[in-house]
């Protein structure tokens, strides 16, 4: 049986409950895996039922909802399968399984969560703010995983007096800090009036980027390994002239 759910935590928990005794269960929030001839069912989010299941799971492992949150943020195709296996295993063992690192169910979920956390860490460095005429900062991003709001605490702690918007242009949503509160809002397109000297600072930054490089030790493969091309789109230092090799 294929269990569809909408990707939310509540719907996942309800689907988990239905799929628990079904060894053939496939849980998915996309229709990519839909195979012919297999029966499918759409499991809607039921708040009360989800709360019950959450309580049971928390009884086994008080930190497991944190794991679920990370798993459901993943943009990897296999994340629903990994989440299902992990939580089934948890419910079977009735105790935290996080450290059972030789179990397949744990290995897959750990890897999936690691990839999300790693992208958060990377974006602490790779986010590029533009200064707006108002003095607020605006950063468009296009991450693999749904992490925009996870980035906010880091920047809020270091720029407490400065309002900023981190805009996930792929998911059309924005994580906002208005100088006092943080929230997430849908945002398709943003009109940004740049500060007068924004271009000049970008130009100095590109200049710096070019100056610190040691051309005789070129290692492009390595650069791309640490800073994959998919992240370059919003980095001023990677918007070079078309003739430039990297």
């Amino acid at each position: 049986m294929i269990y569809f759910f909408d990707g939310s935590k509540e719907a996942f928990l309800c689907a988990l409950a239905r799929a628990f005794c079904d060894d053939e269960a496939i849980l998915t929030s996309t229709n990519a895996q839909l195979s012919m001839g297999q029966q499918s069912i759409f499991v809607a989010a039921d708040g009360a039922r989800a709360a019950q299941i959450e309580q049971r799971l928390l009884g086994f492992d008080k930190n497991c909802m944190h794991d679920l949150d990370l798993l459901l943020r993943s943009g990897d195709a296999w994340r629903d399968a990994a989440a299902l296996r992990y939580f089934k295993f948890l419910a079977e063992k009735k105790r935290p399984v996080r450290d059972m690192l030789s179990e397949e169910a744990v290995i897959a979920a750990t890897e999936c969560m690691r990839r999300v956390s790693y992208e958060v860490h990377r974006f602490h460095g790779f986010v590029r703010f533009l200064e707006c005429a108002s003095g607020a900062l605006y950063a468009p991003i296009s991450p693999n995983h749904d992490i925009s709001d996870l980035l906010v605490p880091h920047f809020r702690a270091r720029l407490p007096q400065c309002p900023f918007v981190i805009h996930d242009v792929k998911r059309k949503k924005a994580a906002v800090y208005d100088g006092a509160h943080t929230f997430v809002a849908p945002l398709a397109r943003a009109e940004v009036a740049l500060a007068a000297d924004e271009k000049a600072w970008q130009s100095l930054w590109k200049n710096y980027y070019a100056s610190v490089n040691i051309p005789s030790r070129e290692r492009l493969k390595q650069m791309r390994g640490y800073m994959p091309v998919r992240y370059w789109k919003f980095m001023p230092e990677k918007q070079l002239s078309p003739s430039s090799p990297c």
Partner: protein, 430 residues
Amino acid sequence: MFDKQVFGVYNGGMISEEKLHILTECAKYDVSCSSSGSARKNAGGMGNGYIAGCCHSFTPDGRCISLLKILLSNDCVFDCKYCMSRRASDVPRATATPDEICELVVDFYKRNYIEGLFLSSAVHVSPNHTMEQLLLTVKKLRTEYNFHGYIHVKGIPKADPMYAFEAAKYADRMSYNIELPSEKSLKLLAPQKSRESLLVPMRALAKEKQIFKEEKRKGYFLPAGQTTQMIVGASPEPDGQILRLSQSLYRANGLKRVYFSSYTPVVQDSLLPSVPAAAIREHRLYQADWLLRFYGFSAEEIADEGENLSLELDPKCAWALKNMHLFPVEVNRAPLEVLLRVPGIGARSAYKIMQARRYTNLTFEDLKKMRVVLKRARHFLTAGGKFYGENRQEAVRGLLVAAEKPATAVQLSIFTGMTEAAQSALYGEL
């Protein structure tokens, strides 16, 4: 909304493109770009420390940009043979004002280009004048520009120690570069510097930090400690000697990091080699350094004083081959410090093994599933009493060398510019 005044008085004006280019072009050979080790809190204004360090970009040479690395001036009165800023060299000169630097840092930081500042300088006018300007800049940045991000300041040899003590109250990290691994080479190649002019302030700062801690004084004093750097391959000292020096800097002077920089000829001089040092040598030294700092090895175990490290094998493999009688060890029982000595098992694999074996008796199959790389480790491990390796030393040696090839090809000398967190991931499987 966002008031520039919050971040202090802006009166320096934007630095010119040309000046920026000159002052960073000369700073780039300094290897350290790490922004780790400080958890400085935001106290109004802008910025804080990120204890693990953070890479903001990577340049085409594969190095990380974490800090804005810049010189206050490249106009030098010293004449170190290997340096392109030396007095005798004919290069464009520039000197920045403290405000130019401060504004650059604040505006780059705000846009998340950088994690902070690495401020260095040639010896401009005199050591005291230079150190005074460096101090003025970092003090301004902290107190007037209200900046709490990471600051690394280079110490200038032969300046009055009071400047360094004062700068240490504002900086997260300071470094005096040892430059060359022996006094003799230093005399020859950097005639105005001496071992003492570098070690004395290093020790004085370490002592001062100790007092600061003991008296529980308020504020900060170099929370991320001190580091140093030496050039490898410009002078004849063997690796064994370099590692002993590193070890004593860690043990006696409490240094956080010793960086190695492969010699690159930027200057023609009959006293200097005309070819760059092999990147693989620098790589091996970093691997050995890692064993010193995190794996409980001593320099004496890794190489004899007059010996160079094997270029063919990483230093842990080389050590294990010489100590075959200690292996194999049982993966389900060996204590952490023993697991860490197994070639191919790094900190991350060792951690996974320690956790997993609490729940089950690990087999080789389990290890594979857990992505513990067994290519090298299998010659030194048993799992549930089973052994799948070779035990003739010569055969093992051949297999280890073969296992080494792909890794070496991609990893040459990349360790230099990364944050320590990224490095640990890479070295994890040493």
